[in-house]
Symmetry: C2
Subunit: 246 residues, 2 copies
DNA sequence: GAGTGGTCTAGACCACTCA
DNA sequence: GAGTGGTCTAGACCACTCA
């Protein structure tokens, strides 16, 4: 591969970014699947006809974005939610005291629906497109803390069943990978405080009009493609949302 | 500098991390101040007697942590909040529609206090240590959206006055740098939904017992030293807290 | 044109894993 | 011991800034 180092090029990209893009394409195509090793740096250098250092730089950026995981002496692996059981990077709700251990999830119901205009827009699909709606409760240490509604476009998750959802309870993102080859790579959230009303108050076992946390999430897979909408209501009496900003 | 590449060393650190530590020490000591350039990679390589590549790797990590900012062709600079006017990485409250432009801050009052036990513990100072308490309102586009109480240990911010706080309104972190040589490098937050009561409801112009967002922040300077406590109450009727998780 | 950071290479050697 | 990623070097050249 030759570096296209022309300063007049409208979209000049250094070599390592071109390599990064090629690796990402292989991840998207499923050539290497979550949890599996990718070829060694030496092999990739040969394949792309660049130096090992250039491959390293591409892999470093992908590892930084949590798309790849490197293990010295073993190899480089495609990041997988099933191997992140311990950290739960996308679950920010934490007990005020102690730590989060066993989280039990209870499926409330499961529907095939037509998306409303707003949801369709956020998922970048046609209005009234078909989708699955999951409603469920998360209960760390027994108490109902989170009630959530999850919308999944049918084009991506065709064939999803209540049984599949129920089986994987709190490990949904790991199920997306294994059953649908959909890896969630980042999420955007909007957080508000709202008054719990009706069913939500009942589900969270709080008084009508109590203050609860509302988290509106859009989850994206490779290539910034939105594939999940999630609205969570959280009882923050004994839990909080933790965040670190650097 | 020689690499101490002994596998039996209890705390083996690669060369570039040792360099990173030396650079951090210079930042802490104030040898290079926020906004100022640090020596070029070539000069630092000579100073530490390592290759330019090793210095680059150390600087890259520091740039990634937002402690340094690199500008191709110009040099490497100590990160400064006053040069981040545009992004406000630590201000996560955003209007639901449109973007945040002018934020006006109104000082409510300013006190010299003795820290309660909990605050003293979070700031890692002795109980009843002296501190400043700032209470103020933030009003993007006129409406009062955030009421906050800020606690600053007197040992670090000795001589702070209401006038200084008032002058710098919403750019407090930039004032910490210029007036006290304290650069905030990261913050930890705990977020809850609570009912607004009494003064808080009045200040935010919401009904008693309305749901508001509570953000408890600890802000740290170099070396993970806590130097600010901030409790913010936010009216999220037309604003939200935005977050991206990768 | 001089000086800065940014990319890329080739090669040496270290640290770790696994058979 | 073979294979992996991790570190470090020296050197070439590119891209950008500023006088």
């Amino acid at each position: 591969m030759k570096s296209t180092s022309s300063s007049s090029s409208p979209a000049y990209q250094p070599l390592y970014r071109q390599i990064k893009h090629l690796i990402t394409e292989s991840l998207m195509s499923g050539e290497w699947r979550p949890g599996e090793p990718i070829p060694s740096e030496f092999e990739l250098a040969q394949r792309y006809n660049v130096s090992q250092g250039t491959v390293r730089k591409a892999i470093s950026e992908l590892a930084h974005q949590n798309l790849l995981v490197r293990h010295q002496g073993k190899g480089t692996f495609v990041a997988s939610h099933s191997e992140e059981r311990k950290n739960f990077p996308f679950l920010r709700i934490t007990p005020d005291r102690g730590s989060l251990d066993a989280v039990s999830a209870t499926l409330i119901d499961f529907w095939r629906i037509k998306l409303d205009a707003d949801s369709a827009r956020k998922l970048a699909v046609a209005e009234a497109a078909s989708a699955y709606l999951i409603r469920r409760l998360l209960a760390p240490a027994g108490a109902s803390v989170v009630y959530e509604e999850i919308r999944l476009p049918a084009t991506v998750f065709e064939g999803l069943s209540a049984e599949t959802v129920d089986l994987h309870h709190c490990m949904l993102y790991s199920m997306y990978e294994s059953a649908f080859q959909v890896r969630i790579v980042h999420v955007d959230e909007r957080i508000k405080a709202v008054a719990a009303e009706g069913e939500i108050a009942a589900r969270l076992d709080v008084e009508e009009a109590s203050a609860v946390l509302l988290i509106d999430r859009v989850a994206y897979t490779y290539g910034d493609k939105p594939v999940e909408l999630r609205r969570s209501y959280c009882n923050t009496r004994e839990h909080h949302y933790r965040n670190r900003i650097v």
